[in-house]
């Protein structure tokens, strides 16, 4: 995700899972990841992609609230929706999501499902949306949260009858998937994974795409027919709008069938007292006045990109997602290109809250004297974040967990150690830290990470691109490296001039910015210290070192 991409959206969905394939997600096989797709998805051609990927930044409902907050900063106009899977207990989760300030909750059922799912999932996984929708709707009502969020459902909806039933169970929005594909020409050949779709939908092959017959008009005509169908059913029931029947589960009746009698539908048909639709906004408790004030100051530079500005502030750990609101404003006008280098420099002092510099735009520099929390540099796209603790101590922690998660570019220099899951899914950022926790550089597809100290276990798991340099003074790194896809090699050998020159340049830049004494020491004895460095690259792919980096 880049700030330009997020800013261009009207609605942003956090897809926690999909009803038809819960826990697995769709798969884009490596064969279909062409260089175009790889560019769009910030990854390496030929590497299988799963959707949705595990959310390494969401381990609790508080983490989700933080992500929603981040997204509401980068794009305050967008509706933030959270997609959940219909299952027992989804009501509790839905209530949590509403409390995490989402605008919309999607309850996804198991009857849909595309060819992107493994066959076992299409056939055997997932629950009907009816159960989850009813539970979520009632749970939200019982907790007086229903008025804060809209409810949507999907999972094999096809006809007006499906829409009316979903509305009666509490849905205000309705998602269509498979039928739209069929309208666009899909013949359910179930060869989506082979790049051989004869109707040109699930393929990157230009010849096959030439056989695509879908048009917007066909989709419009289909949905118009569904709407017409809905209108007829409503008329039969004696209502004039869909709005009137949302949540009217009392209008549903069990059919007279011996098989129906085996089940207890009382929970599905239960009607709790209270409003049945969204009534008002769901703004986060934190209105982020701190950054709004900074934005006011910076606005002239955003309007006139020739100018430069330096802002100084003290920051507290309650000031979350700092830099994201401004980045979103920059992206609103300039997209991912952002502002010229060094246009906006913000000098901070103190302890920054979570998500410092999330989705950072080009032209932004955040210079923090102090330490930061979790998610520093999450999804950062460009610019730089420099963190220097007020009192430098070798090996001391300076940033929290899941920093640089999903970053697509920019620079993060931290004169201290980072927590768990550092630079997971990094696809372009350059980072220097003085140590990491477990799972660093997992699923990395690009960019450069330098670790001037110990790492945790499982380093580089699933890493398919980019490069990492690790300073292994205690000689235990190899045991901590996940060697499935990557290999570590020494760079103090004569053959590797590229690696060692690149590293030296990065270290010089890092020292220049942070005045780290550890970096100074390594640079002073570079010849000897080089023997302690490992360079980690994917086994299959030759990661290109970016000579432009380092200054």
């Amino acid at each position: 995700m880049t700030p330009g991409y997020l800013r261009s959206a009207e609605e942003i969905q956090i897809k926690l899972a999909q009803g038809a394939k819960p826990g697995e997600g769709g798969q884009l096989p490596g064969e279909k990841v062409t260089s175009l797709i790889a560019t769009l998805r910030f990854t390496i051609p030929g590497v299988t992609l799963i959707s949705p990927p595990p959310h390494h930044d969401i381990y609790s409902i508080e983490d989700l609230a933080q992500l929603i907050f981040d997204l509401k900063q980068v794009n305050p106009e967008a509706i933030i929706s959270v997609k959940l899977v219909s299952s027992e207990g989804v009501g509790t989760i839905a209530a949590g999501v509403a409390k995490a300030y989402a605008d919309k909750i999607v309850i996804s059922g198991g009857d849909g499902g595309t060819g992107a799912a493994p066959f076992s999932s299409i056939k055997y996984a997932g629950n009907p949306w009816e159960f989850g929708l009813a539970e979520a709707h009632n749970s939200l009502k019982a907790n007086r949260l229903r008025e804060l969020v809209t409810l949507q459902t999907d999972g094999g909806l096809k006809t007006g009858r499906d829409v009316v039933k979903a509305a009666l169970l509490g849905a205000e929005y309705f998602g269509f998937g498979t039928p739209l594909l069929v309208i666009l020409g899909c013949k359910l050949l179930r060869v989506c994974h082979l790049n051989r779709c004869t109707v040109g939908i699930a393929t990157q092959d230009d010849t096959l795409r030439g056989h695509y017959i879908g048009t917007v008009e066909k989709v419009v005509a289909y949905l118009r027919n569904v709407a017409e169908d809905v209108r007829e059913i409503l008329a039969e029931l004696g209502f004039s709008s869909l709005q009137e029947i949302i949540g009217r589960s009392d209008l549903l009746q069990l059919i007279d069938n011996p098989r129906v009698k085996k089940f207890d539908f009382s929970q599905v048909l239960l009607r709790v007292d209270g409003v049945d639709t969204r009534q008002r906004e769901n703004p986060p408790f934190d209105d982020n006045v701190f950054e709004k004030e900074v934005l006011e100051e910076v606005l002239p530079v955003i309007k006139n990109p020739q100018k430069e500005i330096v802002v100084e502030r003290d920051i507290l750990n309650t000031n979350r997602s700092f830099g994201t609101l401004i980045s979103g404003q920059i992206a609103r006008y300039y997209g991912d290109e952002g502002l010229p280098k060094d246009a906006v420099t913000i000098k901070l002092k103190g302890v920054a809250g979570q998500s410092l510099g999330a989705f950072l735009s080009h032209g932004m520099s955040l210079l923090l004297t102090g330490v930061a929390n979790d998610y520093t540099g999450k999804g950062m796209h460009a610019g730089r974040i420099i963190i220097t603790p007020a009192i430098y101590q070798e090996g001391a922690s300076a940033v929290g967990n899941t920093c640089l998660y999903g970053a697509t570019g920019g620079k993060l220099f931290v004169a201290g150690t980072a927590g768990e899951r550092f630079a997971v899914r990094n696809s372009g950022a350059l980072a220097v830290v003085e140590g990491t926790g477990d799972h660093a550089c997992e699923y990395m597809t690009g960019g450069t990470v330098v670790v001037l100290g110990d790492t945790g276990i499982n380093f580089g798991a699933g890493m398919t691109g980019g490069v990492a340099f690790v300073y292994d003074r205690s000689k235990n790194f190899i045991d901590r490296l996940n060697q499935e896809l990557v290999a570590a090699r020494r760079i103090d050998v004569d053959e590797d001039n590229e690696g060692k020159l690149y590293l030296k340049k990065i270290l010089a830049s890092y020292h220049n910015r942070t005045r780290s004494t550890k970096a100074r020491r390594i640079l002073d004895n570079f010849r000897e210290e080089l023997a302690y460095f490992w360079m980690v690259t994917p086994k299959d792919m030759q990661a290109p070192l970016n000579p432009k980096e380092g200054d």
């Binding site: 050949l189 179930r190 051989r196 092959d205 056989h211």
Partner: protein
């Protein structure tokens, strides 16, 4: 598999027109093992295969045997293909695939369908040549079944009964077995040796064949019911339709089936009626189906000076196989579309001189989806003819003994059966093929025969 973007559809090669007009040998040269692999590998392997589900009346395991042969496993392909079909090498040759499996193939829109028919014929041809044979257990049951008629429905029923170990006595009124496969379909589409070979296999498996035995006084249905545990009727629809026009009873106006039968007898070297000789004559064939195509192509091989085909709809509405129409055009047949015959013209001596016809117009589609035909007054013209052949479809002949046995028939003479078992209103008489459904395809007759065989098995063996 899925090589369709790289490999084009390739039909089997045909003999040169000049060469093939000189004899009644098969026109197509089917695939060798390399070609059959290449063509099979084009298959998409759809999750829900349209060829099998929508296209094939037998629900043949088409994608599965395509996959097998593409993987060089001839034996698996042969066994899969012969599992559901009683004679794949024959249906691969004579089915109108463009309306069935190949018409349903997902590649048929824009890529060229898989050459299913040619591959089907080739697989079993290659397997037979390699010495493979379908497996039969031998007759293991003490119950026997009488099959009346040795055409596609009868062969199919006998084949599946024999596979279940039930002995079969087959009664055929002609002097050679095969019914339509022998006398209806000319040798240039289906070599008679292929039909004979199937009968050899069935006879080895326990079939007893009784030729020159029509149902009737010598062989009453009643006595069959006494002697056999069940009777299957697959006697076909053999009574040719006539247009009901003036002078249609002239001796030089033939019904298609008589013409084809006698021509085939001539090719066999058996006795035949010289009346059906068309050498040096101008021939007009009325009709546009597969039988009409068989007649025109037979006539042109027999040495007719000209062959003209009159059809009352247009080319797009022809019910038969597209490839047979193209073959007929290649072989020099002239087509007059949108023409409806009104009168057979005779000279003063009563000799045949031609046929009058009216131009037609196509209107709205009827309930079957085919466009209605109306004649346009004042557009009469005449085509010269010395022989006229009526290929206008078939009705069912009256089958002796049905009434007495208590078998219900429709007003059109169709035997009424249960649609899932082929059982008639008499619990031990089953029927299938054209005598039950009206004139239709060999493959649907084969499907009926199989369905009845399965029902008979269940009834006899439990």
């Amino acid at each position: 598999m899925q090589t369709f973007p790289e490999t084009q559809r390739q039909e089997p090669q045909k003999n040169e027109v000049t060469a093939r007009l000189k004899n009644f040998e098969e026109v197509y040269r089917f695939f060798d093992s390399k070609q059959v692999r290449r063509q099979s590998a084009r298959c998409v392997q759809c999750g829900d295969p349209f060829c099998t589900v929508i296209g094939c009346p037998l629900q043949n395991y088409i994608p599965q045997w395509l996959e097998a042969i593409a993987a060089r496993d001839l034996e698996r392909a042969f066994r899969l293909s012969n599992e559901s079909s009683p004679f794949p090498e024959i249906l691969g040759r004579i089915c109108p695939q463009s309306h069935l499996c190949e018409g349903a193939c997902t590649l048929d829109d824009g890529y060229g369908a898989i050459t299913i028919g040619a591959i089907e014929a080739s697989v079993t041809d290659l397997a037979f040549a390699a010495g493979m044979r379908p497996e039969f257990p031998g007759v293991t049951s003490d119950k026997r079944v009488a099959v009346i008629g040795s055409g596609p429905a009868g062969i199919s029923c006998a084949h599946f009964l024999l596979r279940a170990g039930i002995g079969v006595d087959m009664f055929e009124r002609a002097d050679r077995p095969g019914g339509l496969l022998t006398y209806g379909i000319p040798g240039f589409k289906l070599d008679k040796k292929i039909v004979d070979f199937r009968f050899e296999l069935l006879q080895e498996a326990g079939l007893t064949l009784h030729l020159n035995q029509p149902l009737g006084q010598e062989l009453p249905l009643e006595s069959l019911l006494k002697d056999y545990a069940a009777v299957f009727l697959g006697v076909g629809a053999t009574r040719g339709k006539c247009p009901g026009i003036e002078n249609q009873d002239h001796p030089q106006v033939h019904l298609a089936m008589n013409f084809l039968t006698h021509q085939q007898r001539r090719v066999f070297g058996d006795d035949w009626d010289l009346r059906y000789d068309v050498r040096g004559k101008k021939v007009v064939v009325v009709g546009g189906g597969d039988t009409a195509m068989d007649c025109v192509r037979t006539a042109i091989r027999d040495g007719a000076t000209s062959v003209t085909c009159l059809y009352r709809r247009d080319q797009a509405n022809m019910p038969g196989s597209r490839k047979e129409f193209h073959n007929a055009v290649e072989e020099g047949v002239e087509f007059c579309f949108n023409q409806s015959p009104t009168r057979v013209l005779l000279d003063e001596q009563g000799g045949l001189i031609g046929i009058d016809m009216l131009k037609t117009e196509l209107g709205e589609p009827d309930s079957d989806g085919r466009q209605r035909v109306s004649e346009v007054a004042g557009t009469e013209q005449c085509v010269a003819a010395e022989v006229i052949i009526m290929a206008l479809g078939f009705d069912i002949e009256v089958i002796p003994g049905l009434n007495e046995a208590g078998v219900d028939v429709s007003d059109w003479g169709q035997i009424l059966t249960d649609q899932h078992t082929g059982r008639t209103s008499h619990g031990r008489i089953f029927a299938g093929g054209d005598c039950q459904r009206g004139a239709d395809l060999a493959v649907t007759a084969a499907a009926d025969g199989r369905q009845a065989a399965l029902a008979i098995m269940k009834q006899l063996l439990g």
